[in-house]
Amino acid sequence: MAEHPQALKDIIDLCAGLAETERREMLISFADGAARQAPQPGESFDLEDTRKDEECTDTVGVFLRIDDARLCHFRITLGPQVQTLTRAMTTILCQGFNGASPETVLDAPADFVPQIVGAELVRLRSQTVYYVLGRMKSAVKVWLNRQRAASA
């Protein structure tokens, strides 16, 4: 099974032992930080994918930069109607996958998500919690396909 990046492991460890109330506080704190994951002035990207699609309540933009060491750096923009859980996952995943290889992101098993958000929230809103992860993996997959096509 693929290993999670250390930054993501740290977040998983941070959340794993929390009681439900503390976990919610932690998620809200991550959600409050979502705006800071947006692209910063002067940044450029290898792939930009902004769209409003069926799995989310507002527009989500995923911006991917691959550095010279072939490591991923994500930025994400969220429309104002995006739900709190999705905003929390945005911060968690941007931090957790920052500096990971494209293959690590693509192969990351989604079973870490319930460890972070907790079984109750997964049960209550199972369709919300995986959305941003799916968009990030999709961006990486497109970038990898482009690389393969360019080198063919």
Binding site: R24, E25, L27, I28, A31, K52, D53, E54, E55, C56, T57, D58, Q83, T84, L85, A88, E120, L121, L124, R125, Q127, T128
Partner: protein, 289 residues
């Protein structure tokens, strides 16, 4: 009570944000927030409001059904609600889930209830206070209701089928694309496992949002009459079923028809399209734009 609210058929079930702001310390009230966004309450809520989640608190956890009388009594007791408490609901998404929770409370006959016009969005837009402090109301005594009274305001599949066969009025409150069968979910929502797109034969399309203003408040009684009576040809004495995807948007329309326009026999088919669209041998219609 403002003039707009006073003009509705049952003005006692709708309160303004101004009214709520002036009753935050009223001990005879229990304010209840009910949302789609499961963490929204935790980010800040109307002072004194408790949180009721439609899936965690109102749905049975193993049967696709609502909680029973014993669980309802326990839920109310835990939130300091007695049969005499006025429960005031508000929430996100133009009060979909507030209306849904209101509807579930009516299944148990809790008549002393109201919805905040404009819901959470209007309260926030008016810069009214929010707090993260979770109230801890003293446990109250809520006697277990004798039964959950589904018959008057809830429709099941076989009843909806009979209703369709009798060509009685039915309102499909989903988006136009869902009604036509082009999509099987709301435009910005996940697919929830419906096999077929379309609508119940004979149903008229009237999306829930037709009844709401951009700020989430309900339209005036004259505007609502124009939509449902002049537009759809519905009469206050008609036997009507409203449905959507899982019964949340149709709770909003049920509330409008029953309380704002005073229709006497409106039922919410909560099985809605996730049941009808999947049911073996249930007939459907599709239409073109």
């Amino acid at each position: 009570m403002n003039d707009k609210i006073a003009a509705y058929a049952h003005p006692d079930v709708l309160v303004s944000t101004e009214w709520l702001a002036s009753h935050l310390d009223d001990p005879s009230l229990r304010i209840i927030e009910s949302n789609e966004d499961v963490l929204l309450y935790d980010t800040g809520h109307v002072p004194g409001a408790v949180h009721i989640d439609w899936r965690r608190d109102l749905n049975d956890q193993t049967v696709r059904d609502y909680i029973g009388p014993e669980q309802f009594a326990r839920l109310c007791s835990a939130h300091g609600i007695t049969p005499d408490t006025k429960v005031v609901f508000y929430g996100d998404k133009s009060n979909w889930w507030a209306c849904y929770a209101f509807w579930v409370f009516q299944l148990f006959g809790h008549r002393n209830a109201a919805v905040v016009d404009g819901g959470r969005a209007k309260w926030v837009a008016e810069n009214r206070p929010l707090t993260r402090e979770i109230p801890k109301p003293s446990t109250a005594v809520y006697p277990q209701p004798a039964a959950r009274n589904d018959a008057a305001i809830r429709a099941f599949y076989h009843e909806t089928l009979a209703h369709m066969q009798a060509a009685k009025p039915m309102v499909d409150v989903r988006s136009p694309g869902e009604f036509r069968g082009e999509v099987t979910h709301m435009p910005e929502y996940p697919q929830e496992g419906v096999l077929r797109g379309g609508h119940i034969p004979g149903a008229q399309s009237c999306p829930w949002a037709t009844a709401a203003n951009p700020d989430g408040t309900f339209k005036s009684v004259d505007e609502l009459r124009a939509i449902y009576q002049a537009g759809l040809g519905l009469n206050p004495a008609d036997d009507i079923i409203a449905y959507c995807r899982i019964g949340e948007r149709s709770s909003h329309t049920w509330f409008v028809l029953t309380y704002l326009l005073g229709f006497s026999s409106v039922r919410n088919y909560d099985g809605s399209w996730t049941e009808w669209g999947n049911m073996v041998r249930s007939p459907i219609e599709r239409s073109t734009p």
